[in-house]
Amino acid sequence: MRHSRPQNALEEMADAVVSTREALRSENTVLRLRLTQLEQAFRAIRDCEVDALFVPGSSGGRVFALEGTDRAYRALIEEMGEGALTLTPEGIVLYANRHFAALLGRPLERVMGVRIGVFFAPECYASLLALLLDGQSAKASAELDLVTEAGPRVATLVTVNHLTIDGFPDTIGMVVTDLTWQKRSEAATQARQTLLQVIESQRRSEERLRVSLETLHLRDNALGAISQGVLISDARGHTTYVNHAFEVITGYSAAEAVGQTAAMLQGPGTAPAVRQALREAVAAARPFHSDILNYRKDGTPFLNALSVTPVFDAHGSPTQSVGVMRDVTASRNIDAQLRLAAQVFKQSGEGVLITDSLHRIVKVNQAFTTITGFSEADALGQNTRMLSSSRHDAGFFRAMWNEIHVHGHWQGEIWNRRKDGSAYLQWLSISRIADAAGDAEHFIASFSDITQRKDAEDRIWRLAHYDVLTGLPNRALLRDRAAQVLQMAHRKNESMALLFIDLDHFKNINDSLGHAIGDQLLVEAAGRMKAALRDQDTLSRTGGDEFVLLLPGADAVGAAHVAQKLLQVAQLHFQIGPHELTVTPSIGIALYPANGHDFDLLSKCADAAMYRAKQNGRNTFCFFTAEIQAQSVRALLLENALRRALERGQMHLVYQPQRDLQSGRIVGAEALLRWQHPELGAVSPAEFIPVAESSGLISSIGEWVLRTAVRQLKTWHDAGMAPMTVAVNLSAVQFRQRNLSELVESILEEAGVAPQSLELELTESVASDDPVSAITAMNSLDACGVRMSIDDFGTGYSSLSYLKRFKVYKLKIDQSFVHSVLSNPEDKAIVTAIIAMAHSLGLLTIAEGVETEAQMNYLRDLGCDEMQGYWFSRPLAADRFKGFVDENTFDEVR
């Protein structure tokens, strides 16, 4: 049937096959090569040029030696990967190997002896036929489709050789190569290539993974070694990792922590705001840095300096967060304390400065600048001396630093200096801050300006001790002062006076003119009274119109004198606004020690005395006791009288002659002051001289005496009297006058009398009270040529050593010794001793008060140089003196 197929149909098919073949040829160069190789192999085998055949297999190639054995040759054919056939010239299969049968999917026995054409697709018949009929070329090949037993086609390359095999001429050899396999092989190669690439990339991944693992391991070790706790959690906040430090800090093991959330560390003390902030930061994948109070496994809290950082994947989605924690409980406490201390330092109202061991300022605060005016820049590096005022001496600072070095601390009041130079009082506290070795490292000084406080204290003190209206001390201060004055008087064996002063009828002024006028009057009166007093006196206002006055050292006379003065100043008119006012005080006086020894008793006495003064008609003063009262009244009377005594010519001098005991000649006269008052009569110098001294009248009286005596002497000289001296008594007050020698000189010069003719009699006490000043005064008097003697010698306590240095030429033996020189052995001994001593010092002696001839003779026998006294002559008036001298000159001659 197949043989009867029409020829033109085959030609058409052949044309189609040719065109297909052209297309396929170009695609199968590899197959051609393969075919060429196979052909070569066949040729070489046929030409016996081959040693062996090589069959590649899945478990390595196998080599088949040929050595001409057909069996091995057939085995090769059987084993080869191509279909191999031999055909008769008519196309009948003589032989086919197993592979060809396998290609067709039919048993081998159903292949052998079958016409070859049935195995190929019908459209391939033409090509197949052409191959088989082509007797010209040794070989030909074409790609033809086999049709398998089951139906599917298999693309093959068919090669045909015209051979002579085993004696059969024109045998056709055919090799059928499965192109499917070839294509599959290409795919496989492709796949294998891909696989290799996959394997390679996997290998690289594994390498990277290994490196990553190593790095990870290293990092894990590092994380485990650091002191900060590390916690890694996944996107949902569950912990996936914690390091060793986390375990140490929290007490939770890694196993306990993993899978938990960070909330496991939070507790009742965790601030809700911080907790919220942390939750929000994690939810929003934002970094979080804050201190948060956390709790350990054992429940103890700790302050956690926590930093949480989100980790993002390649797409920017948060995948994890890493928390780094640090237990800062201890350091934050210290931080807080330091911050607090710094705040205190900065904001303290007290000035604070810190110096190094060399007292150089290293730190100051704001208050320092506020108080001192020195800025920080002014102060830093400077020595603290810059702050010193000059109000404290070196001893003060020595004591202060000594205290600091011994006790580490000093505090007290100190005057320091501001930048503007003004001094101010500060309350200063200095502490020494030593290092561990005990060496001073720093000094801390804190201080406050207490000038204002001091002012306030002063004000309070003044309020407590002074009367607000008059500014005079009040009763409290008076009591203090009185206690002091009494103590002093007791110690020095002095007297003192306490005076109560009340303004008479003051209440009337207050009631009629008002308190303002009354107050004003009190102020004025107080001012006037105070002006009349000495500095050491204390005038105090004790209430209303009552004043109390303390007069240290005052006796009755002194007190009376002051009281008199106060009455006088108060009596002057006061001009208060439109009012011309007078006040009349009543004064009560008590004396220490006569009336009492303490302030309270003296106050009562003075108060009682004042009451009596008011009874006595006011505007007067009263002593507490009658005798003192009388004495003081007399003293005041005398003082007032004395004031006018000179101008009224009530004073005169009398002269007592002084006789040389050896020659009997009158050698001098002692001028004696007499006061004859019209009402008081003759007043004794013993009574009025103290009054003159206490009232200051002594100066003018003394000067009058001196001048009168000197002039008298001149008169006598001019009248032809023999030269003699006139002795004038000098009071202690006069002797202390600074211009005494100038005064004496001018009086002598004025009168034209030689200085040697004047003898100044000093009392022993004048010289012994203040010997050094006395020597100075005596020296200047001696320099002008005036002679000096010591009166009443033996009654005082003259120091012999000073006596030697006094420029005196004569000692006057006191009349008390002379009086009983004959009857009292003690007086006799004293007089004897005085004369002997005077002679040994080169001084003359004169005895005064000689009343009998026996006394005179005895004194002369003792070696006394001169005498004066009633036995020889009473003091004589000036005009009678010359006559007496003339008479005695006659006696002398006689």
Binding site: Q37, A44, G61
Partner: protein, 101 residues
Amino acid sequence: MNDIAGFAVAPDAWALQLYVAGQTPRSLRAVANIQRLCAGQLKGRYRLEVIDLYQQPQLAQGDQIVAVPALIKRLPDPLRMVIGDMSDAERVLHGLDLLSE
């Protein structure tokens, strides 16, 4: 022509591999023949490797060797294979593209 896929290939660099199976008279003859041919035609501009498949059978796998002695021309392209004892010089030269048809 010499610039293939960007690589400069020496025009006279020949890489040849001769596969044999043991020390047979044919393999020896093949080595001798190919040596003579290369010396005459390629004037030393070649490298020849002789591979014994008994010793290194795996080396033949990629080249689809089916029978030995076999000569493979690796360079220059294209790959060529000549099977036999290389006694027919003309055929060998033809197989190696050294003679044009």
